[in-house]
């Protein structure tokens, strides 16, 4: 079984439901116009499936997890992708993923933002 595509993400919720970027082709089943990361950030699955318990990304045949159970209440997922597109003869001929950032951020009681993000 192959893992989801590099740089994609998924979230697991309290009832075991997994909201997968690959499974939904990165289109929100809730709005039809946002991506899956936006669903996770906006907590759209939580009304039906309970709180987020795991946030994951995939890169080079590895799954990277953040256990959401021990994080501050205002923690938000972070997943970014550095991309390159080659234009040869006017046409986009290749799009590459060159780097992935993954982790979470939160604000402390003073409002200061903190991040725990690794570059994969």
């Amino acid at each position: 079984m192959s893992l989801p595509i590099d740089g994609s993400c998924e979230a697991e919720y309290a009832d075991g439901y997994i909201h997968s970027e690959t499974e939904h082709d990165d289109v929100s089943p809730y709005t039809g116009e946002h991506n899956i990361l936006n669903d996770i950030l906006e907590k759209r699955p939580e009304a039906e499936h309970g709180p987020l318990v795991r946030f994951s990304t995939f890169y080079k045949d590895q799954r990277y997890d953040v256990d959401w159970n021990d994080l501050p209440d205002n923690a938000r997922p972070v997943r970014w992708k550095r991309m390159e597109a080659d234009q040869v003869g006017g046409e986009i001929t290749e799009v590459r993923l060159t780097k992935v950032g993954f982790g979470y951020q939160w604000n402390d009681e003073t409002g200061a933002n903190h991040q725990e993000v690794v570059e994969l």
């Binding site: 082709d25 990165d26 289109v27 929100s28 116009e33 946002h34 991506n35 990361l37 936006n38 950030l41 972070v78 997943r79 970014w80 992708k81 550095r82 991309m83 390159e84 597109a85 080659d86 234009q87 040869v88 003869g89 006017g90 046409e91 986009i92 799009v95 060159t98």
Partner: protein, 168 residues
């Protein structure tokens, strides 16, 4: 789906007419998106320049945010007597064969912004969370020649323009 990318070109007065989903960007002596470059060649013996060309990246699909966009070319001096100049611009001017005044097109990366969900020219912003269709600043480019070019009639080697960005 994630984000998708196509190239749009601006032609005509103020380069304001869009031709979307371009599949070629040959520098030539006519400002349109249809004439074959072989039908409107650039004559280095006469120190001619191409028409300035305006092209921009158009995003579609789904994304949460876009930021940190840059654009570069792999080689701006493909031969003696040939140079490729260019700049990221925030307004369109009618394409011309006069020297654009731009510097050699960067081989390390020019910063560019995201402008609007509609084709056009604007300063834009360095990041956006709009999702869906999003255009970027245009890259204006021009092939300039001099009579010192010794390659003779024919095509030059294709160049690669690379757009780089961060998305979430």
């Amino acid at each position: 789906m994630a984000s998708t990318q196509t190239i749009s070109e601006g032609n005509g007065t103020n380069a304001a007419t869009e031709t979307g989903s371009r599949t070629e960007m040959n520098w030539k002596r006519v400002d349109d998106s249809t004439t074959a470059y072989t039908g409107s060649p650039i004559n280095s013996t006469n120190n001619e320049n191409s028409m300035t060309k305006y092209q921009m990246l158009k995003f579609g699909g789904t994304w949460n945010s876009l930021s940190a966009l840059t654009v570069k070319i792999d080689n701006n001096a493909p031969a003696t007597g040939l140079s490729i100049v260019g700049a990221v611009v925030t307004s369109g001017t009618t394409p011309s064969t006069s020297a654009s005044g731009d510097s050699a097109l960067s081989t390390s990366g020019l910063s560019a912004n995201f402008t609007s969900s509609s084709f056009g020219y604007a300063a834009g912003t360095s990041s956006t969370t709009a999702s869906g269709t999003m255009y970027t600043n245009a890259l204006r480019s021009q092939l300039q020649t001099t009579s010192s070019y010794a390659g003779g009639p024919g095509d030059i080697v294709s160049r690669t323009i690379t757009w780089t960005w961060t998305e979430s």
